[in-house]
Symmetry: C2
Subunit: 247 residues, 2 copies
DNA sequence: CGTCAGCTTGAAGGTGCTCAATAACCGTGG
DNA sequence: CCACGGTTATTGAGCACCTTCAAGCTGACG
């Protein structure tokens, strides 16, 4: 259960310097915003704006100089790489309240598209970079996220390089199950798939057809239940984890 | 052309505070050491020691609490991940003067083994972490390296997920050619492969046999020349790059 | 009710794997 | 110097898995 907004807001009530837009923000105390001082928040919010994107809409065009960075407020973002002939690979998924953008570099080498409906709070690259230079805490926070993303990328390299199709699909479902609803103690999970089949295929380095076949195989094995193509129930998370090959 | 040692050393001659062991070090002005003040270098060097490793020797056992970090002085290090049943994937290659170790985390989730003969300068995890906390510059440098590694990991995910076997092998050769001898203007390259076939296979998510077959295919196509299994000549780097599929 | 996007299912084919034999390389010691 | 064993790499034949191509299905929305 998410913490009711009340407790979060009470903290800020005592600090009138916190910008109005931030006070009610879902991400106010998470992600990068959590480390900022009221003055820094003010500076940032002055240049910040909210945007929404619908599935498959581009947040950053690959190869384009992205002049804005941001934080995901809700939804799932896919990071993609393209080959000359159209082959595509999803190289990362990002969830709220992740930071979006690659600091200290002109060109982004990955594209970013909304996978689901997405809300972001974005600000100019230069604003956040200035802030980073002046706030070691913020850089540390971003460094931590980068390290986390690197760990995840390497986990996925193992999946891409060495797992079979059915292990890949199971690993994917397990990944989503553990990311959508971060804290859950019970062995069962229930969620909506944030990706359509084509995206899953691009994430796993497979074709749509193979993904589909492996899903029905997992369904027939009783490891997952799927309804309306998107709603998933996992009766036993541990069993799903094992289907993804024990690392 | 590398800068002659003379100019490098002259800087230190005027600064007698720089530790003796560091003065003649190949990595003194590169990698993380480059940002450190003489005092910081002294602190670090007091706890530092040099080690050498031969091929396949473990620098860090996966899952083990690595209590030392370090810098690569020479050689190539492979970062590996293992699946329960023995399947292996190399998730990164590191060259001098890269930093070795994952800060701010108890457990390393990857193993590190020497690919070639390797020299490292290592120090206790806690020493460098203290230093990081006190030196924003150092954290920035490490953050930059982490970002670089993340970019590389994602590049490789595209290779693992979407390229054919022959494209994979070509991509690998191109990667090595451009990393072994970083600055080279001419279109031709000549180098020793730092990895044996089994390692290449683990890096590419293939089998030894497939790697071998694709290498002879590239050889017969005149894209590379190979002698003694390890010495490679690439007459036209651009052609090799294209054989790896234009991204 | 028709259309369109997304998903599933089937049959055929190819790429890369498995298993197995041969060949090249390298250090050691006769 | 060559013979030798061990490690590393190449090559071949058959097969499995995943892809390709093609058809049908489902649900949302006009």
């Amino acid at each position: 259960m998410p913490i009711p907004g009340e407790t979060l807001q009470r903290q800020d009530i005592h600090n009138s310097q916190v910008p109005v837009v931030c006070r009610a923000c879902e991400a106010r105390h998470r992600g990068i915003c959590g480390t900022l001082t009221p003055e820094q928040l003010t500076l940032l919010s002055r240049h910040a704006s909210r945007q929404t994107f619908s599935p498959d809409q581009e947040l950053i065009a690959s190869g384009t100089s992205a002049h804005r960075h941001g934080a995901i407020l809700s939804g799932v973002v896919k990071l993609t790489k393209l080959l000359g002939d159209g082959r595509q690979q999803i190289v990362g998924l990002q969830f709220a309240p992740d930071f979006l953008g690659r600091p200290f570099k002109r060109q982004s080498e990955v594209g970013a598209q909304a996978a689901t409906d997405v809300k972001v709070c974005s600000f100019p690259k230069s604003t956040i970079e200035d802030l980073i230079r002046r706030s070691p805490d913020l850089e540390h926070r971003l460094h931590e996220q980068t390290l986390k993303e690197l760990d995840e990328a390497r986990d996925w390299m193992l999946t891409l390089g060495r797992k079979s199709a059915s292990e890949k699909v199971a690993s994917f479902l397990y990944l989503i199950a553990t990311h959508i609803d971060p804290e859950r103690a019970d062995p069962t999970a229930r969620f909506e798939l944030p990706l359509k089949r084509a995206d899953i295929a691009d994430f796993l380095g497979l074709t749509i057809e193979t993904v589909s076949r492996q899903l029905t195989k997992l369904r027939k094995a009783g490891i997952v239940e799927i309804e309306n193509n998107r709603s998933v129930v996992v009766p036993d998370l541990e069993r799903l984890r094992q289907a993804g090959a024990s690392g």
